[in-house]
């Protein structure tokens, strides 16, 4: 695996460049126009995550709060309420293992422990190569093929621990999004 290809999540301490500021201003304005003034915060957050390597760096949130006319604390409160958003740096791919009832009774605990072993990380941690972040997810709604997981937007079902290395390898080979 080539570490050079890994996009590093923007660090919390990095100050914003003029280009960042312009990007954020345009993002918020476009959203304001698209939603007739009733801004969709979540759309903004997902676009930010997409742009900043799957996470929401502090300085970015501060600037966005200013543009939205709200306080950084308010916006931070919003962001930390929703488990799919993260202020911590995350890997290139986010693995969400469904830990809901139907998956629990059909083998999700074994899937989760295999992933922990294969990746060498625990839940909410990122592999040292910056490739994967492991997360536990609420119901993915594909209970008919439980246990299931989702990597980015791709879902996988009827999982057995032995299927996991192949799935991870395919994602690794796929490289950056």
């Amino acid at each position: 695996m080539e570490l050079d290809n890994v996009t590093r999540p923007a660090g919390q301490a990095q100050p914003l460049s003029d280009e960042d500021k312009r990007f954020l201003r345009e993002l918020v304005e476009t959203n304001r126009i698209e939603h007739h003034g009733r801004l969709s915060y979540m759309d903004i957050m997902f676009e930010l995550e997409h742009h900043y390597g799957n996470s929401l760096p502090g300085p970015v949130l501060g600037e966005v709060a200013r543009l939205l006319g709200t306080s950084p604390a308010q916006l931070n409160g919003f962001v930390t309420f929703y488990t799919m958003l993260s202020t911590e740096p995350r890997g290139q791919h986010v693995i969400r293992v469904c830990t809901s009832g139907p998956c629990h009774v059909t083998g999700a605990p074994a899937i989760l422990s295999s992933l922990r072993q294969l990746l060498g990380v625990d839940i909410d941690e990122t592999t040292s190569d910056g490739m994967f972040t492991l997360e536990a997810s609420s119901c993915l709604g594909i209970c008919g093929v439980s246990p299931a997981l989702m990597i980015d937007d791709d879902a996988y079902g009827n999982l057995m621990p032995e299927d996991l290395p192949r799935i991870l390898d395919a994602k690794r080979a796929g490289g950056a999004r």
Binding site: S40, R96, G157
Partner: protein
């Protein structure tokens, strides 16, 4: 000229089972045989039978091929379409009679269903508005725009439709209250934040028949006097978001959304808002806060959303399945809707049949269908010949229905009598291998995580209950724990503000009610009868079966197993961490789990 149509189920579950690659093979094989212009491939929404996926249905015959994969998909083209021979190996075999089913009409899973909400799922291409229109789509909208708002609301009220999200409140009364409320503008909201673990009917409707929800939202907007609708859907459902967004665009193009809809002078448009992994946002007041760009915390009712909802304005909020019922009611009338179901819960209900049942998937049946019919007739019974133990209903807000109540008709009211709720229709089937204490602990753990933290009894009380459940499962339970749990549960139920807290103790109360003996076994005998709770297990080696292959000793990470080649092995209980890996690896069933 099209002579055949191949319908491929492109529901969420079938996609995970390889639907895309099956489709690629079919496209390739059609081209290789030069019949690509005679055979049309259509990707549909969910066909319901998730465990049989990927599913391919060949029309006009209706031949139902299941568990199709890249290796055998070519046979459908080369045998069925080219040579006219049915591919026997891909047909569904009825387990009891061993008869091969030719069409879905020969499969008990399908024959007992009444498809109203799922009328188009698995039948049409969800991306084609023309196919939706061909199935009477947007006909109800045309009809509604010629009615008065009061006439529409009266029809919905007369139908007796009750909210399918779980609470079962009368939809008609909700519509009337929002219409009568003072304040403007008004809003229409669709709750697509299907968070109940084990329920996925809303996902399937949004993915398989998005226009049915759009049409109903426009009708609702006309009835209550709103010009804006919001579809709130979870980010965990990317495919549903994608297809719904596409459908909105098409509806605008055809003039079913936007200005002056069907020349009626009525304007209405829909926006999508996305949730991001907060279960409590399924609660309506929390969902509205989330749309407003705030933390999704619930607020006290009254005022109800009908009076003060989004941005303080009157707001109608219904769930996806409820909306999907609207168009057929307007087309066929209230009496037609009441022709199935029970008198207090008319119509059908979509259940998500999951867990240890043979046939998993989505099933739509009349309200009042018994659990026995659902699990045994439609679901084909329990997997691997095991015994049915209970069905968990209503997710973390519900409880269990046990074998004693298999013949009880299920509707909104009957299941409440035995301490559970129908909820949004998730039915997680449990067998003898499931520990009820573990299941209750699991659901409780879910609410501990998902409590928004606003009310102390919910935030701290569920945590305390969880600690007690944990110590019971760890073999440290105390004799008074059952009483303590019940007491705490009732305080939480009485003093929490929203539905999440008020129902959070239900899984524990319900399992104590029906499986107190299992709790007692954990607490008094320090045994887990289902052999699930790790700390209450003892692994040992059966000397009669051990052949001394050393596999277990090599597998054991803590070196708790000793023994020489071809000699009987022994587990040192003081070192054993009860990880179970010896049990998994032994090929001679020599490891005992007690």
């Amino acid at each position: 000229m099209i002579r055949n149509q191949l319908l491929i189920c492109a529901g969420g579950a079938c996609i995970t089972s390889g639907e895309k690659s099956v489709k690629d093979v079919l496209v390739e094989e059609l081209a290789r045989n030069g019949i690509q212009d005679e055979v049309q491939i259509i990707e549909t929404g969910c066909m319901g039978a998730c465990d049989l996926g990927p599913i391919v249905v060949v029309y006009p015959e209706g031949t139902f091929y299941q568990k199709v994969n890249v290796q055998n998909a070519g046979l459908i083209v080369n045998e069925h379409l080219v040579k006219g021979r049915t591919v026997g190996g891909l047909l569904y075999t009825e387990p009891t009679s061993e008869r091969k089913a030719q069409t879905s009409g020969d499969i008990p899973f399908y024959t007992r269903q009444v498809k109203r909400v799922l009328r188009n799922c698995g039948v049409i291409d969800p991306l084609s508005i023309e196919e939706y229109i061909a199935r009477d789509g947007y006909f109800a909208l045309g009809k509604a725009l010629e009615m008065t708002p009061d006439e529409i609301i009266k029809t919905v009220q007369d139908s007796g439709l009750r909210g399918r999200g779980g609470a079962g409140f009368s939809t008609g009364i909700k519509w009337k209250a929002t219409k009568d409320a003072t304040g403007s503008p008004k809003y229409v909201v669709c709750n697509g934040d299907e968070g109940d673990p084990g329920a996925f009917m809303d996902r399937s409707v949004l993915e398989g028949d998005p226009h049915s929800v759009i049409e109903a939202m426009v009708i609702a907007g006309f009835a209550i006097g709103a010009a804006t609708g919001y579809m709130y859907v979870r980010a965990e459902y990317p495919l549903a978001i994608e297809r719904f967004e596409y459908a909105i665009g098409k509806a605008r193009e055809y003039g079913f959304l936007g200005k002056n809809i069907l020349n009626s002078g009525f304007d209405f448009d829909i926006e999508i808002r996305i949730g991001a992994g907060a279960f409590v946002c399924g609660e309506e007041t929390a969902l509205l806060r989330s749309i407003e760009g705030k933390r999704g915390t619930p607020s006290i009712k009254p005022p109800f959303p009908a009076q003060a909802g989004l941005w303080g304005k009157p707001t109608l909020i219904n769930n996806v399945e409820t909306y999907a019922n609207i168009a057929p009611i307007l087309i066929n009338g209230a009496d037609w809707f009441r022709s199935v179901g029970t008198s207090k819960s008319p119509g059908t209900k979509v259940f998500a049949l999951v867990g240890k049942v043979q046939n998993t998937g989505l099933v739509e049946v009349p309200m009042g269908t018994t659990l026995r019919e659902l699990v045994f007739d439609i679901g084909g019974g329990i997997r691997d010949g095991k015994k049915f133990k209970a069905a968990q209903t209503g997710g973390p807000s519900g409880g269990v229905i046990t074998a004693d109540y298999l013949d009880m008709p299920i509707d909104f009211d009957t299941v409440k009598e035995i301490g559970t709720i129908m909820g949004s229709g998730g039915l997680v089937i449990l067998d003898e291998d499931n520990c009820m204490v573990d299941v209750a602990k699991f659901y409780l753990g879910f609410t501990v995580d998902e409590s928004c933290g606003k009310c102390t009894p919910c935030r701290e009380g569920t945590r305390q209950m969880y600690h007690i459940m944990e110590r019971i499962c760890d073999g440290k339970g105390q004799h008074s724990d059952i009483e303590r749990l019940s007491k705490l549960a009732n305080v939480i139920k009485d003093t929490s503000l929203c539905g999440l807290g008020q129902t959070a103790p239900n899984p524990v109360l319900s399992t104590i009610r029906f499986f107190e003996d299992e709790y007692r076994a954990h607490i008094e005998d320090k045994k887990c009868p289902a052999h699930v709770c790790k700390h209450l297990l003892t692994y040992s080696i059966n000397p009669d079966k051990c052949v001394g292959c050393t596999a277990c000793a090599r597998q054991c990470l803590v070196h708790a197993i000793t023994g020489e080649v071809k000699k009987i092995h022994v587990i040192d209980q003081s070192k054993c961490t009860k990880c179970g890996s010896c049990y998994e690896i032994c090929r001679f069933s020599a490891i005992r789990k007690e």
